[in-house]
């Protein structure tokens, strides 16, 4: 079965997360800029005279569609790489995916999700 991971992380952690995922062989991903709001209350910014609060903070959303047997490993890896320990580290959501089509080749389903260096092409270990 195929799943979608939507990880909402700090902007500045994107490179770390990308590298960590690549290290375990998760190659395909898609990143959007977003602004979010959760347990973290917002941050204070300084103006000309006095400060003000901004309650929507920039975040980065990483979308990864992957096979469910790689799901837990991906979640662990993201959690690890994206953590700072202070509020605002973000969330990971998991969704069901019904189908995958690779536009260039027309491949469908799991086959469409294989990459050079992919986690599923690596020897077990």
């Amino acid at each position: 079965m195929t799943k979608k991971i939507e990880a909402i992380i700090r902007e500045e952690k994107l490179n770390d997360v990308k590298d960590a995922l690549q290290a375990i062989g998760i190659v395909g991903m898609n990143v959007t800029e977003c602004r979010g709001h959760g347990r973290q209350g917002g941050i204070e910014l300084v103006g000309r005279s006095g400060a003000y609060k901004v309650d929507m903070l920039p975040r980065v959303q990483i979308n990864i569609v992957l096979s469910d047997h790689n799901l837990e490993q991906a979640i662990d890896t993201i959690c690890h790489a994206a953590q700072t320990g202070s509020v605002g580290d973000g969330l990971i959501f998991v969704y069901p995916v019904e189908d995958v089509v690779r536009i260039r080749t027309g491949e469908r389903g799991r086959a469409a999700l294989m990459y050079p260096g992919d986690i599923d092409t690596r020897p077990l270990g």
Binding site: E44, L45, V46, G47, R48, S49, G50, A51, Y52, K53, V54, D55
Partner: protein, 407 residues
């Protein structure tokens, strides 16, 4: 044309270009501080005034300000359409440059002053109301005050008030008019809930950098020649801007962090404050004037915020209070040793100048505030001042101009 001096003419020509440039510079200074959906509207407030007020000035503004005086109150119509304003110098105003150049140079001051006011009503004013207001304000407020202070026979000039480059004529009028307008127009929807973050501070930095440069023409050019006085004014201008920038940095650092928007605002406030004094004081006095200007405007902003008044880009705090301080500081620091054509201030043993400065500032301030209050109220009651809530939500760029700044 015997007295024409090419060096003086060259310097005032380029100063004219520099002051012209201050208006687009101001556009970016302001434009960076509004939200993305209103940036074109904000830029255009400045840009269209380059066009509109230039025409007003050529047709009748110049003559109202510098025509033959009618009892010191307003200029006569002898220079209507710039007739009689030509290549010969007019010794009353500037004996070594063409009179037409004097008119062109002064035009740029007439253009930027209402543009300064626009900071008070950005993000909600109706474009049509803005146009009518600006034209009326230039005619009924700027031209008379320019006549009082700079016109031969003008009442404040006769009084002995000093205003080297427009602390009173430009900054006090703009700042207190902005205050009056803000009291008449409604606040922006959502004002006070912190959702009005500047959309592009680099634009404001660009604007401030170009304003700093342009101010060399604004103050230095007011010497109306390439002489020692111009040099003094330039050095003072730079020093005051520097001092105010550093002090503002320290203030915002003390309270929070050293804000870049604060630093550039400080520099601009220093430039405002030195404007009336630039040709009358020493560089060290300029340093003091700039350094003191920063806290004055800084706390004026806090005061304004405390009153929950949506004077959106703090024209009053920066230009009104900065200009007022500059006018008074001229009464303190002016020295005949610097400029024999000036006067000694309080610190040089002449309390009278200080009182004259106070009086001139007060008269101007009350007049500008009152007239603007009337004009704005009249417009509000007739065509209305502000756009509808929906238009404000969509943003003035699309609602008023049918355009988006960024695609």
């Amino acid at each position: 044309m015997d007295n024409l001096n090419t060096g003086d003419t060259a310097w005032v020509l380029i100063s004219t270009a520099l002051v012209l440039m201050m208006t687009p510079a101001l556009a970016f200074f302001y434009g960076g501080m509004v939200r993305k959906k209103n940036v074109l509207s904000t830029l255009n407030f400045s840009f269209i005034l380059m066009a509109l007020i230039s025409l007003q000035w050529v047709l009748f503004g110049f003559t109202l300000a510098f025509g033959k005086t009618a009892n010191g109150i307003i200029g006569g119509l002898n220079y209507l359409g710039l007739t009689g304003v030509g290549a010969e110098p007019n010794a009353d105003y500037a004996g070594t440059i063409p009179f037409l150049l004097f008119a062109a140079y002064q035009m740029m001051f007439a253009v930027i002053t209402p543009a300064l006011i626009s900071g008070t009503f950005v993000e909600r004013v109706k474009f049509k109301a803005f146009l009518i207001f600006s034209l009326l304000w230039a005619t009924l407020v700027y031209d008379p005050v320019a006549h009082w202070v700079w016109g031969v026979g003008g009442i404040l000039r006769n009084l002995g008030a000093l205003d080297f480059a427009g602390g009173t004529v430009v900054h006090i009028t703009a700042g207190f008019s902005a205050l009056a307008f803000a009291r008449v127009i409604r606040a922006r929807r959502g004002f006070g809930n912190g959702s009005m973050e500047p959309h592009n501070i680099p634009y404001s930095v660009l604007g401030a950098g170009l304003l700093w440069m342009g101010w060399f023409g604004f103050n230095g050019g007011s010497a109306l020649g390439a002489n020692g006085l111009a040099v003094t004014a330039l050095m003072n201008t730079n020093t005051a801007a520097a001092a105010a920038g550093v002090v503002w940095m320290l203030l915002s650092w003390r309270d929070h962090k050293p804000s870049v928007l604060g630093i550039i605002t400080g520099a601009v406030v220093g430039l405002v404050a030195i404007t009336p004094a630039a040709g009358y004081v020493t560089p060290l006095a300029a340093l003091a004037i700039g350094a003191a200007a920063a806290p004055i405007s800084y706390f004026a902003i806090k005061l304004r915020q405390g009153r929950h008044l949506d004077e959106s880009l703090d024209v009053w705090a920066c230009h009104g209070m900065g200009g007022l301080w500059g006018a008074l500081a001229t009464g303190l620091f002016a020295s005949k040793a610097v400029n024999a054509a000036g006067a000694d201030g309080l610190f040089y043993g002449n309390p009278r100048l200080f009182l004259v400065q106070l009086l001139a500032a007060a008269v101007t301030l009350i007049f500008a505030f009152g007239m603007t209050f009337l004009l704005a109220t009249a417009l509000k009651r007739t065509i209305g001042l502000s756009v509808s809530d929906t238009e404000e939500q969509v943003g003035l760029d699309i609602a008023e101009h049918g355009e988006r700044a960024y695609a």
